[in-house]
């Protein structure tokens, strides 16, 4: 593999990692705090992508589409949270997983009904290329990577510096004790749920120009997203970052070497991690309820 090829592959991998990170960090955080596995997040991912598609093709502005997607998804997520999750939180992980799969399916049915089954293309908002180490790469990929870095730093600052962030960290350790201080933990749950939905929608919109938008896009990425969460360890942000980076690179190199391997490799890695640590790289074995 030559240097230009290598550089190109690494950048493609990083862009994938960026999207995986946006999609899985919220899932991991939600599990840590609320002990839910919220599969409806993949609906918000699809909604984010579809809104981006609609606004980009109608109004010609990708960034506006991204924003619309985030707002639409958060509104939808708020409705679902208020109507269903209040009863889900008390019931545990399995219950949330099954019920939210129901929500996801309803959403997919609705998307098929509204936009049909045909995959839709989304125009790349930035068409320029840059030269790097003897290869030319689309600027858009660097923007994606940059955005993920900004989000990661923002999330860290939010969790470490703000009082609500501290309450979230406290809740991840022990929800009852957090509530025992007089904090309305359900409000914090709602906030984290919306944060996760917003990130999922953003991931969907950002991902849209790199793939085609189609009704099953949420289902197609579930396995990878959860492999990342699992490899990193449920509830660990650091783990999510590490495994996003790992899986992004593995898939990118897989594609350049032998395409079918790219989709197999994360699974192999997951099995290897399980052999060594059944709770993922950074997951705590005490994180159960």
């Amino acid at each position: 593999m030559s240097v230009p090829e290598l550089a190109g592959t690494v950048v493609i991998g990083l862009a994938m990692s960026a999207i995986f990170f946006m999609l899985s960090v919220g899932l991991s955080l939600s599990y840590g705090l609320m002990r839910i596995v919220s599969l409806d997040q993949f609906l918000y991912y699809s909604v984010g992508a579809y809104m981006t598609y609609v606004v980009t093709s109608q109004a010609g502005n990708f960034w506006l589409g991204l924003l619309t997607g985030v707002i639409a998804s958060c509104t939808l997520a708020l409705t679902v949270e208020k109507s269903l999750y209040r009863r889900i939180y008390e019931k545990g992980v399995m219950f949330s997983m099954i019920t939210s799969y129901g929500v996801l399916l309803v959403g997919i049915g609705a998307i098929k009904y509204i936009w049909g089954l045909v995959p839709r293309p989304v125009m790349t908002p930035i068409v320029g290329h840059v030269s790097l180490l003897g290869t030319t790469l689309p600027v858009y990929r660097f923007v994606v990577i940059g955005l993920a870095v900004v989000l990661y730093i923002g999330l860290r600052l939010f969790l470490e510096r703000t009082i609500v962030g501290k309450a979230i960290r406290a809740g991840i350790e022990d929800v009852d004790k957090t509530e025992g201080l007089g904090i309305d933990v359900y409000r914090i749950f709602t906030l984290v749920f919306l944060l996760t939905a917003g990130l999922s929608a953003l991931a969907g919109g950002i991902h849209a120009p790199l793939i085609m938008v189609d009704p099953h896009m949420g289902l197609k990425i579930i396995a990878t997203a959860f492999m990342i969460v699992i490899i990193g360890g449920l509830g660990s942000i650091k783990g999510t970052v590490v495994s996003s980076l790992l899986i992004g690179q593995v898939m990118a190199f897989g594609f350049t070497i032998w395409a079918p391997a790219a989709e197999m490799a994360p699974f192999v890695i997951m099995l290897l991690v399980f052999l060594i640590r059944p709770t993922g790289l950074y997951g705590s074995q005490y994180l159960r309820r």
Binding site: K166, E173, D176, K177, G180, L181, G182, I183, D184
Partner: protein
């Protein structure tokens, strides 16, 4: 019913699933008095406190705080009404510093004046930047109590505060409780009878999920002995 009661528990029944652990418990805690609950392990003391604080839903019965019925409120609502519960396990948030632990309580209770906390527990001042994971048992107990007295505090429920602590630290805590008693109604669960005798204005004895004795006079409290009565 007595009107001077800061907290009253009426005919409370609590079950974990199928197994019933609290039977018709009725207790009255007068304002500005120190009440101590004693009983062997498994008697249901922790269950009682958790049910009062809203962490367990009682099957039947009611909790009245200063004339307000608080049965069935969520724990944070109970706390905001001024009833604080300090659990038995002495766990503070281990990833958060002492300062952050206090900040959270301040945020919840909208009380940012820590002078009271530092007056009762001056030792916390030097520990501000230490993470919860690196505090000793006594320091954690102090931090938990410090968090609890922020904002309005009418009643403080404390579950086995002296359990597993060195005698000198127990003495510090007893001193702190004596001071606190003039500001709020204290309800302590205590297995250490010496401490119980020293602090109690009245005493409840629990056995197998039932309240079996109520001693409201000093003579009765002084005569309590572990082997004989528990």
């Amino acid at each position: 019913m007595a009107t001077g009661a800061a907290l009253q528990v009426n005919n409370m029944n609590v079950s974990y699933g199928e197994s019933r652990v609290l039977f018709d418990a009725s207790l009255t805690f007068p304002a500005s008095a120190v009440s101590v609950i004693v009983g062997r392990n498994g008697a249901g003391k922790t269950t009682l406190l958790k049910a009062i604080a809203g962490f367990l839903k009682p099957g039947s019965g009611s909790v009245v705080l200063g004339g307000d019925e608080i049965t069935g409120l969520r724990p944070y609502q109970v706390v905001r009404k001024g009833l604080k519960y300090i659990p038995q396990d002495k766990e503070v948030f281990s990833d958060l510093t002492v300062r952050e632990n206090l900040e959270l309580a301040s945020y919840a209770m909208k009380d940012h004046d820590w002078s009271k906390v530092l007056r009762y527990f001056p030792k916390l001042q030097q520990l501000m930047h230490r993470k919860g994971a690196y505090l000793s048992g006594g320091e954690r107990q102090m931090l938990m109590m410090g968090r609890a007295i922020l904002g309005k505090t009418h009643v403080l429920l404390v579950d086995e505060p002296t359990e597993g602590l060195a005698p000198s630290i127990v003495q510090d805590l007893v001193a702190a409780f004596k001071q606190l008693a003039s500001h709020c109604t204290l309800v302590l669960v205590e297995q250490n009878l010496a401490v119980a005798r020293e602090l109690a204005d009245q005493l409840y004895l629990m056995k197998e999920g039932k309240v079996v004795a109520h001693l409201a006079d000093r003579a009765g409290i002084e005569s309590l002995a572990f082997e004989k009565d528990l």
